[in-house]
Amino acid sequence: MLTNQFTTDNADEKQTDTEKAADFQEARQFFTRNEDFNALSAATECIYPKDDNGPGAVELGVPYFIDKQMAGSWGTNARDYRHAPFIKFQQVESMKGKSEEQSPTNPPYVVKHSETELQRHQARLTRGEIFIEGLRKLNQESQKRFSAPFYEAEEEQQIEILKDMESGNIKLKGVAAENFFILLRRMTLEGAFSDPLYGGNRNLAGWKMKEFPGAQASYANIIEKDEFVKMKPVSLTNYQGH
């Protein structure tokens, strides 16, 4: 229990199995239009682009991760309080306050929320509907400005539109644009760094970039060590299968 016996060599074998399985799991369950999904792919890649450190959102499987999430209970707000009355959208807009520029600075379980984000939770739209609304707006806006859908625009053009979305300079129906952006950014990071069982973090490449060891049984043997310890990451498939 006190050693990292779970990072054994057969992790490699199972890795191969997971890769194969992934091939059959990358089909759309939620997004119906190619152009929506293409906009999603382009937007997440802008948020977390491929670079010398490693793969970006698309290569990590983030768009499929988001598609799966939207098809499930998160996308339909199945655990949320959804009773009426919902406040009217104009009221949501007028209640918008200053939004925080930084991502949460606190430990993960104390996630700070800007007031704008809080108002998102008063929206009538489900998260899935917010995504459809936001992604279609990306394409429309890009078509208007650059005569090309978002996913065919240049990276700088895409970034310009996303920045306008982030700052609320673009208007959406039923939800503040900032809130769509916050959700998009958050879910991009979730897809990059959650366990690969959800369809993102393909081949554990997200964790490898961060040198995160995954679901290790124990760190008792390294907790006091001064030097940085590199470990081969362990997925839940391996951890639970031990």
Partner: protein, 580 residues
């Protein structure tokens, strides 16, 4: 029509630490006890192999099902309260063991100052130091009275700790040695000592060696697996109600826990409580469970809501300051309390992914009234700490201020600093105000058709000044720790309460005291207005200290259990009479 069940000695709403301790103590004495838990049936096995950040930290698997019930929240009586619709803003415990199963295990005793906060403040600074509108009051019990209950709780939970060099009197040492040091904790301690402070290892319910508690329950040794605060323990190594008090209660054969049992009303005749009305969530059937004593041991919100919907006690009226149910609501909130400074180290890498919930160090130099408040524009204090909980990859993407929060530069820097950042933040006290309270919402209903509880809460100058002062101290420590970049959290003067409830640190609603005009229960958690009704948990805290509340909840649950035993023996009467 509700089905009336056979009468028992005690019915307890809730199976968390408060309900669990009461269940264990009463059933050990031979009383027949029924527990009502609205959440699902869970055992330790349910938490094996659950190191899944998305499922537990981001999707809130262990938090309350808000489709059934939530709270509404607003900043002032002139506003319309809106429902807190998602778990992102409502970390409320549920299921067997309640929030006691998904906790980090930080254990603190409150200070002697806390229990006599009004008297000691007046004694040291005079009455004028207490600002108008701050409803500070003594608890009616002293630290010395509570010491034996703290000790009992620590032995039950196997708390692993190190003597606090400037802490209050202890009759005995911790049952287990403190958690290990890490390089980051060593840095913190060294810096704190250089600044003249007294750091120590935070007492932890992540137990450091296999331990058998006085009830005969075994808690395993923590393996530092880094999945604690929103997770159940994979190893049975974190003291929680399932492996300790609920197991003890079940062993006696006198305790029955009913899950999916949603309490909707305390049945009473105006003088005595006669039982609890509840709904089986799965079938919609209603049951009445009669009992000699009724114990409300749910969360602050549950306890207060049940008193209000059952029309027991006088509801608090913020306009006149009269009434007690709903009074003195307080809590630790994310945009004023857990603030501090993040340090970025250019050439130093930490094994940040490793940790344990309560693997942490703190210092008491700023707690309670340990600093002289004569020239400060706030009362009470904070405890700056470094916590090594294990940084998980979705939650740990910190970048120095000025860096974009997405895109190429963000990716580069967030990856570079993933294992090169440390955070010192402070948990600050929350003092009560006349304008902060709980009542029933006029509009929104729960799934059973009862009104939701409504929170009205506004930050005061006190909260902001205390928070700003704490941030500065955290930043000084971080500077001393040698970080190349020290980013202070921002807390502007006009910061508003964000209607977010990021943990289970809430108090008030049915507070204790010695005067029925200003308190709902006596220090045995017994209702003044109904002597066979006990309301246990942090709902009885008249204010919220700068410490995590669990150990104090546990200590008062032990004290309340003694009172219940005495009551059941006598058959009637107040264990403790009003002193005024």
């Amino acid at each position: 029509m509700a089905t009336k069940l056979d009468k028992v000695d005690a019915v307890i709403v809730g199976s968390g630490w408060a309900g669990g301790i009461v269940a264990a103590e009463l059933s050990k004495k031979g009383y027949k006890v029924v527990g009502l838990e609205r959440g699902a049936d869970k055992k330790s096995e349910d938490y094996i192999g659950t190191k899944d950040e998305l499922r537990f930290s981001m999707r809130y698997e262990m938090m309350q099902d808000l489709t059934k019930e939530t709270i509404t929240s607003r900043n002032g009586a002139d506003q319309t309260a809106l429902p807190v619709r998602t778990n992102e803003n409502a970390f409320l415990g549920t299921d067997t063991g309640g929030a006691g199963v998904h906790w980090n295990g930080h254990n603190f005793r409150y200070l002697p100052y806390d229990f006599e906060i009004y008297s000691k403040t007046v004694e040291r600074y005079g009455k004028n130091k207490i600002p108008k509108g701050m409803t500070l009051q003594d608890w009616g019990v002293t630290y010395d009275d509570m010491e034996k209950y703290y000790d009992k709780y620590e032995k039950m939970a196997g708390i692993s700790g190190e003597e606090n060099p400037i802490g209050p009197y202890r009759s005995d040492k911790f049952p287990n040695p403190p958690m290990k040091d890490t390089p980051s904790i060593k840095l913190f301690k060294q810096a704190a000592k250089e600044l003249g402070y007294h750091p120590y290892q935070i007492p932890s319910a992540n137990v450091t060696q296999q331990y058998e508690n006085p009830d005969g329950e075994t808690i395993n040794a923590c393996v530092y697996c880094a999945f604690c605060e929103t997770y159940g323990c994979d190893f049975g190594a974190k003291a929680d109600p399932i492996i300790t008090v609920l197991a003890t209660a079940k062993k006696t054969g006198n305790y029955e826990l009913r899950n999916d049992a949603y309490a909707t009303k305390v049945i009473h005749d105006g003088e005595k409580a006669t039982g609890v009305l509840y709904m089986d969530i799965r079938t919609g059937e209603e049951f009445e469970q009669p009992a000699d004593i009724v114990v409300l041991a749910g969360f602050v919100f549950t306890n207060t809501k049940l008193l209000l919907t059952s029309k027991i006690g006088k509801p608090y009226d913020p306009k006149t300051g009269t009434g007690v149910i709903g009074k003195n609501f307080t809590g630790h909130f994310s945009n004023v309390t857990y603030l501090g400074a993040r340090g970025y180290f250019k050439d130093k890498k930490f094994n940040s992914f490793a940790g344990a919930g309560a693997l942490a160090s703190t210092l008491d130099d700023f707690s309670g009234d340990n600093i002289d408040h004569s020239d400060l524009d706030f009362l009470h204090g904070f405890e700056p700490h470094i916590r090594v909980m294990g940084d998980r990859p979705i939650g740990n993407n910190h970048v120095p201020k000025g860096t974009p929060s997405w895109g190429r530069e963000f990716k580069e820097k967030s990856l570079y600093y993933t294992n090169r950042n440390l955070y010192v933040d402070a948990q600050a006290a929350a003092l009560p105000w006349a304008h902060n309270y709980l009542d029933l919402d006029p509009t929104y209903k729960d799934f059973a058709g009862n009104p939701l509880l409504r929170v009205t809460y506004k930050y005061s100058k006190q909260d902001i000044k205390l928070g700003q002062y704490a941030i500065k101290r955290a930043a000084e420590i971080m500077e001393k720790m040698g970080a190349d970049i020290v980013d202070e959290d921002e807390l502007p003067d006009d910061t508003q309460f964000n209607n977010s409830y990021p943990n289970s640190h809430n108090g008030g609603g049915a507070i204790m005291g010695t005067d029925p005009k200003t308190s709902a229960v006596n220090t045995y958690s017994q209702m003044w207005d109904m002597d066979n009704l006990f309301v246990v948990g942090s709902s009885s805290f008249p204010h919220f200290s700068n410490y995590n509340p669990t150990e104090t909840i546990g200590a008062f649950a032990y004290r309340a259990s003694e009172g219940m035993d005495q009551y059941l023996k006598n058959g009637s009467g107040l264990i403790e009479k009003p002193s005024v």
